[in-house]
Symmetry: C2
Subunit: 619 residues, 2 copies
């Protein structure tokens, strides 16, 4: 199969094409895997993530845009300014398929422009455009203007990826946005585009994606679609969106509340997917080629939280900006979500960071911050009063963060740096600098291992242990019982999800399918003869490769959790009295054993087994 990269040299405003050898694709598939490989080869060790030497890989995978189920995504990879190790993020919407239709399977953004620039790619033709008039502007406005300039008003034709003011102003928690409301949010890669002064990319075209064996493709696709559409989780996602999880996770005592000091939120129902669907939903909406359509088109008609028709908040956004800051008002959350999207923030990191600020503010008031720091905080806050649950203060903060005004300049650095600066490092709940998502590992203990060993830092999408600890997929386990079978599942998911992100497809496949399902589609598209085991091994290879990036950067390979989760027992809910310490300590040795790792690093024989000999020098 052919896989064409477009290298955009922003320093010189030049573009060139490059073909990826098929042998490389068979090893790393595409998307996340290919990105990790290229990043490790091309990004020099130790560089400042904001230097022109950093690169951003915007990649599709072999099945994107084929019409097989849930193949409407793209993956972004680069050195993260938030974590200092390999960063990556994934997004749906329309951008991935339209990038392929425009003639390229991936884009590598290199160098840095002196002036703000945006790039159009239409049927293989690349143009650089001055973006001075778009710099400082929100994502929604930016897309509207680019669509006018490209004379492409219909949002069903072509697609735009862009950064908001947060990325421009190098906020380390800035999200790359596409299709207005979709985010490749995690690890702050939008700020790298901001440093390169790349505001947006428009893609459109009519290239057909080659499918080698069309008959087999149809047949294999159908098998998958049958499994997925019949699954009860797919149905719940369609009806209530991802926020269907609010009540479920809350009932397990694992909904982190008030900056991870509690596991249940008394207003959970008022910020649930059910409540959202009942009160504010206009319709659901899907990514390209998806029939689940889990996205929420919503609006708030009037009042302080008026929000125009737009894609509404996901579970993670609702949790991070809601329960975690104790904002229990769905209208406020819809508006905050809109603002975060438009200004270009990762909502998970944003909510965690604001929760840290609320905690710092409380500590300053009760005298438990260093006096000088409390004074500086007060001075920087100015007219902002970030008390718990204060949605107005949150809304005001977002602007200060996007444009780095007053306290916003500090908050834009993310939870870890904010907490450290004000002398309260343990207030930031993160792994490797990346703020944790919406599952408390004290209540859902497999997540302790999942978070601690996640290569990009605190993440629920490397291994979604919630699926077996809570949702019963593939089998139901007790989330409070330590069980080495779950370690095997975490490792399996990490490898399988590496495959998913490299193909690049949606993880909502994973409730109904496993790695044996998609290999047929992949072979039909590419003409390969890969076995399911080989595919899963590719996932394991990718997971090891990512780990090598952190090892190379000299940090980030200590697998642990924030002190609060290890030492402070949950005060409420079904997991009352629990910490994540026991589970993590018991899980890690077995995990390293089955991974073939030692002290968080792959052993040489593991690299050899996986065909990663060329990276042995890193160990």
């Amino acid at each position: 199969m052919e896989f064409k990269l477009l290298r955009l040299n922003l320093t010189e405003w030049k573009a060139r094409e490059e073909k990826i050898p098929e042998s490389l694709l068979r090893k790393y598939i595409g998307g996340r895997g290919l990105g990790a490989y290229l990043a490790l080869k091309e990004i020099p060790p130790g560089i400042d993530p904001f230097s022109p030497e950093n690169k951003i890989y915007i990649l599709t995978g072999p099945v994107v845009g084929t019409g097989a189920f849930e193949t409407g995504r793209y993956h972004v990879v680069g050195k993260s300014p938030l974590t200092g190790i390999l960063g990556d993020a994934n997004s749906g919407g329309q951008f991935g398929p339209w990038l392929r239709f425009a003639g390229y399977d991936g884009i590598v953004v290199e160098g840095a422009s002196d002036e703000p620039v945006w790039v159009s790619i239409v049927d293989g033709e690349v143009q650089f455009h001055l973006a001075k008039h778009l710099w400082g502007k929100g994502v929604v406005y930016t897309e509207n203007i680019i669509r006018k300039e490209m004379n492409t008003p219909s949002e069903h034709i072509g697609s735009i990826l862009s950064i908001g003011p947060a990325g421009e102003n190098l906020s380390k928690i800035a999200a790359i946005m596409n299709d207005k409301y979709r985010a490749a949010g995690r690890t702050g890669l939008a700020a790298v585009l901001g440093a390169k002064k790349l505001k947006a990319i428009f893609v459109k075209g009519s290239r057909k994606i080659e499918i080698v064996d069309k008959e087999k493709f149809k047949e294999e696709s159908k098998k998958i679609i049958d499994k997925i559409t019949k699954h009860s989780i797919s149905e719940a996602l369609s009806k209530f969106g991802t926020a269907v999880l609010v009540n479920i996770i809350n009932s397990h005592g694992g909904l982190p509340t008030k900056n991870w000091t509690r596991g249940t939120f008394e207003k959970a129902f008022e910020i649930s997917g059910e409540y959202l669907a009942e009160k504010y939903l206009i319709s659901n909406k899907g990514c390209w080629g998806c029939v689940i359509r889990c996205s929420r088109v919503a609006k708030v008609d009037s009042g302080p939280y008026r929000t125009p028709v737009s894609e509404g908040p996901e579970y993670e956004s609702i949790w991070a900006m809601g329960a975690n800051t104790t904002i229990g008002n769905m209208e406020a959350l819809i508006k905050l979500n809109y603002l975060a999207n438009d200004l270009g923030f990762d909502t998970i990191s944003l909510g965690n960071t604001v929760a840290v600020l609320m905690e710092l503010y409380e500590k300053a008031k009760n005298g438990s911050l260093p006096e000088e720091k409390a004074k500086e905080l007060e001075e920087l806050l100015g007219d902002i009063e970030p008390s718990w649950g204060n949605a107005d203060a949150f809304a005001q903060l977002v602007w200060r963060m996007a444009y780095r005004h007053g306290i916003g300049d500090y908050a834009a650095e993310g939870a870890k740096r904010l907490a450290e600066y004000f002398g309260s490092p343990d207030s930031a709940i993160h792994v490797r600098g990346l703020e944790l998502p919406a599952y408390d590992p004290r209540a859902i203990n497999s997540m302790a291992l999942s978070y601690a060993t996640s290569n990009r830092g605190g993440c629920h999408l490397r291994a979604y242990a919630v699926s077996f600890d809570v949702l019963g997929v593939p089998d139901k386990f007790d989330p409070l019982v330590v069980d080495n079978k779950k370690v095997e599942l975490v490792k399996y998911q990490q490898d399988y999800f590496s495959v998913i992100d490299s193909l690049v497809i949606c993880k909502f496949n994973s409730f109904a399918t496993d790695h044996t399902d998609y290999v047929g589609v992949l072979n039909a598209v590419t003409g390969w003869d890969m076995t399911a085991d080989e595919l899963l091994t590719a996932g394991e290879r990718i997971y090891n490769l990512e780990r090598l990036f952190a090892v190379r950067e000299g940090h980030g390979y200590k697998d642990t959790l924030p002190k609060r989760l290890l030492e402070e027992p949950l005060p409420d809910g079904p997991a009352k009295g629990r910490t994540a310490k026991e589970a993590l300590e018991k899980y890690l040795p077995y995990y390293y054993e089955i991974r073939g790792w030692e002290d968080g690093k792959p052993k040489p024989e593991t690299l050899k087994r996986l065909g990663l000999e060329e990276f042995l020098y890193i160990l």
Copy 2:
């Protein structure tokens, strides 16, 4: 006397000194007069106000910093991006005196820097500093950082002038700020500094201001201070600040309400100086060397409008952002005032512009905007709902305006351009592009002439006819009766106020004194032998000179009022049923007669009489 200018060449980061000949000072005094003369000589006709060829003159006058009463101000002059004609603005605080103490009587900002820069002037020594870390930051933070870098923590020593994000982002209604809360607000000159990338100027030093005849100076100063301190208006200003006017002007039916569609506001008392003093005042505060101390140090402890200790809103700010938008909440106004100062907006223009937006929003909803424009407005508003009296929407808008996000990009252009863009030009209440201040000329008819003939556009500080139409200074007139005696007073004030702004002293002198009082102080300081008549003639000369700038620019010399004030009768209050048409039509011919003008332009013989022969070429 010696009068030293410092010319800052921002293109080359170079400074040079220049002495102003004494003969020029005798003609134009200093401050506003000298600025107008230099601007007319040095700024090429027809240039874009944002081009490096524009210049900003930051000038003191001969008596500034001498210790004579109310001599703590400075004046700024340049070509205005808002009006396209000569712009100027005046501010108190500490900056004027400290500029002189630092070794210079004025600064001329020339050229444009590639990179953000700030300048320190300490005892004659000038340094240029990179201001990248201050760009995008608020005024309060900027001053705090510069004071740290200059190791000058006490706010009683040295002074800082700066621009906020509004000026950086070329908002045409941006204010030059100093001493955190003081604004040289009108005509958008901060945006010119923004275009030149000059973020701030720090001044400090120990130069003594030369006073030729110290005995005479003491004696003449004492006469003035006695008059002023005994005056009842001085007392009211000290106790209630300028907002003591809210109830007074409202009771005359001249408090423009709901974008100038009414003359009284039902919540006037709740936004009055009396209410502010009772509920939120911490202390009053004066400019350098002033004992009236009309400034209001205030705070709001908690809640949505929390505001830290800061200088509170003036009458104009309270009116423009309050009555004119129908926001009747003092806490909200304190916060909005704080935000406007910190982001660097002229509150008069800001309030008028937001009132226009509220009117546009209402018109869009009731179908009286062009359909396409209504649609565009809705799209640009996003999550903002600028309904009448909506303080939260206002607070959210300020950020969008400062950083030119969404609708803010349009509102940052000021009332006139905003209203024109959305197809409703008559919604903007301005003269020559400058938004009108807080007195409705339909209720206070001398203001009709004052506004229409104001050289910088709609302004109450060229002739403050309110003093005789309402306050009884020098005599009380009926504000609804047309009387040519008032035309003479308007002309007198315009000339006298030109003197005040050129000396550069505070206009609160003018209630208790006239031009005959200050000539003694001026002569004592300079050693001149000027007569009071000569001084007033200098004022007249300056007024004509400013008019010549507008004539040269080919527009701006039509003396009229907005259609709403000429054609729509006030619906309420003591002036119910009145327009400003009759007064303006009757006043203008007599005004031109006593000015020696024709069709808004000085006659050649007038220029000759005033010693302005060198500018005859402009006519």
